[in-house]
Symmetry: C2
Subunit: 351 residues, 2 copies
């Protein structure tokens, strides 16, 4: 797509605990960035139109498509899929399927969004299952971790597919020529990890794949930024990510305790306020808000269910980056290399 | 054991990157605590005796047993086991086996120590495999996480055994009547986690087991202290623990950046110094130093390989707590309940 053409984002206005306010607030924020964007908004006209009328800058680049059906935040994925047709979430995805929009964005129920994405967009040819990728802060920037919960298990071949998609995604949003890829494992000499992880490592090492594979990484490497991409199964990835979030919150709580423990400490914190503010921004989960569904015929971004306008705007910025990138073509190219490798080798049968 | 009798700790003086200095320094620190302890030290007399002569308070409660054989920090476990007989590590474990000492403590190579522990002490009857438990700080105190790396995989029955051992350990060191037990899983509605985790949950729910089981917990619950014990397989547990360590280091680094970002921030940090010192103590990995090997006929504590005297003293304090507790009997009682349950049920066959 030429950068002169506006990038169209398809947006589920009714997804998220604070929808549609959080969604609309996010649109207002990103509209100020001055990117060449257009919004295709799906949701309840009665709630959205009055807001648009009050925000002419957003209204000017928006097309609102009414539906009074919305997927509940606690809906079961299977139920959402069965009865979700023509809901705001469904229509958001359908606009990407039809080619009207480049990226779909929703802060709705993760399970429902993934199930519906698979049904509406279908999995990319050559990928067994989509994955969810998350970005985690490091001293150098961010590390892309996947899968963080789309699948419970993964075999060696799926881990390689995750590596391919994660690498292309890292390139798309972090602007690196050859992002490094690490495979999550445990480090003890005797325990080299589970069988399928070792098989995946053997595949990832092959030069023909064209990946900048750096080998096994351990849990602490995620936060250290040892590699740009960390690949693991959805069970381990989800637990690692949530453990990291919990720990960040714990330490932040300890810091707060320390800086309010005495009058002197409070005075010190006041003097250090500017530095502490930048810390807060760095650790603000809203600035890294957005899991990305990779491996579908179209890009789907999931904003946090509890997000506010600031968080939703972060996801929209991410959507813009991915939408403007060559992500899809990169994945296709790398997948072709994987299949060629499999046809050549006897190790793992081609699909 | 009557509290009037001294508790005997068997100590590998040659294990750890900074041995024997770190080990001896740790002994000097804990000797000052005034507990009713005796030390059985295994290692190189030429290096240890001169130090003991200079520390009469430690010397008075110590028996030194010479060996010039030590297990290298990078030795392969299989090799360590084959050729490790009469090494300081081996003799440390043998003294527990013979009943001369209550607890074995080493900062040596984890894989070698586990392999040798299994050979010398043997696995407790009724337990399939030993596990390594670690303590992680929470706002309320500490959470015991196991397995953090003794095994790569675990089935449902093994997870229940881990729960039994972890609960007894938590009771032993944290002085709780009925520590709560959570099973690590992922939370999405559709993806209730892997099969063996769900099977373990079904077992843990049974009242006859006598555990205070609170259900599934997620990664963030570890740092929140949602349960006193978190049970998982060694692969996931190792990755969660290392991810948590890495994140704690990352956030601490960000805090340091924030508090040195300007002259004013530095001045503020100076004023807040007392509060920040207590923060440092709270996050100091040395104060929670010590993985515990559970499920062996005898208690083995592993201090961090890179530990200094302060860290080794923490492990010795932990050794004292476990050694003075009813840990072993509690495990035996709970295991009996598990076996009774299995004999009754058709679900999982008795061992």
């Amino acid at each position: 797509m030429s950068p002169d053409e506006p990038l169209v984002l398809s947006i589920d206005a009714m997804g998220g605990d604070h929808a549609p306010d959080s969604v609309l607030g996010g649109l207002a924020l990103i509209a100020k960035d001055g990117f060449n964007l257009r919004f295709l908004i799906h949701g309840d006209e009665a709630k959205i139109q009055p807001w648009l009328d009050q925000h002419p800058d957003v209204k000017a680049i928006t097309e609102l498509r009414h539906t009074d059906k919305a997927i509940a935040m606690d809906a079961k994925p299977s139920q959402a899929v069965r009865s979700g047709k023509s809901s705001s979430m469904w229509n958001t995805l359908a606009a990407v399927k039809s080619g009207e929009a480049a990226v779909a964005v929703s802060a709705g129920n993760t399970g429902a969004l993934m199930a519906m994405s698979k049904l509406v967009l279908r999995t990319v040819e050559g990928v067994h299952r989509p994955a969810i990728a998350a970005s985690w802060p490091t001293p150098q920037g961010h590390c892309v971790v996947l899968d963080v919960g789309a699948n419970v298990e993964a075999d060696a071949e799926q881990l390689v597919e995750f590596a391919i998609m994660g690498e292309a995604y890292s390139r798309a949003i972090h602007d690196k020529a050859a992002p490094s890829v690490g495979l999550l494992n445990i480090g003890s000499e005797e325990l080299k990890g589970v069988e399928y992880v070792r098989q995946a490592a053997d595949l990832l090492k092959k030069d023909e794949l064209g990946l900048n594979y750096i080998g096994f990484v351990e849990g602490n490497d995620i936060s250290m930024g040892t590699s740009d991409v960390v690949v693991t199964d959805g069970y381990t990835g989800n637990i690692a990510l949530k453990t990291a979030e919990g720990t960040a919150r714990l330490v932040s709580g300890f810091v707060k305790d320390a800086l309010t423990s005495s009058l002197l400490a409070k005075l010190g914190a006041l003097l250090a306020m500017n530095g502490l503010k930048s810390l807060k921004t760095r650790m603000d989960p809203r600035t890294v808000n957005g899991g990305v569904f990779l491996g579908l015929n179209g890009i789907v971004l999931k904003s946090h269910g509890g997000t506010d306008a600031t968080g939703f705007a972060s996801t929209l910025r991410l959507a813009r980056q991915v939408g403007r990138s060559h992500f899809g073509e990169d994945v296709t190219k790398n997948l072709k290399r994987l299949r060629a490798l499999q046809e050549k080798s006897e190790g793992i049968p081609a699909q």
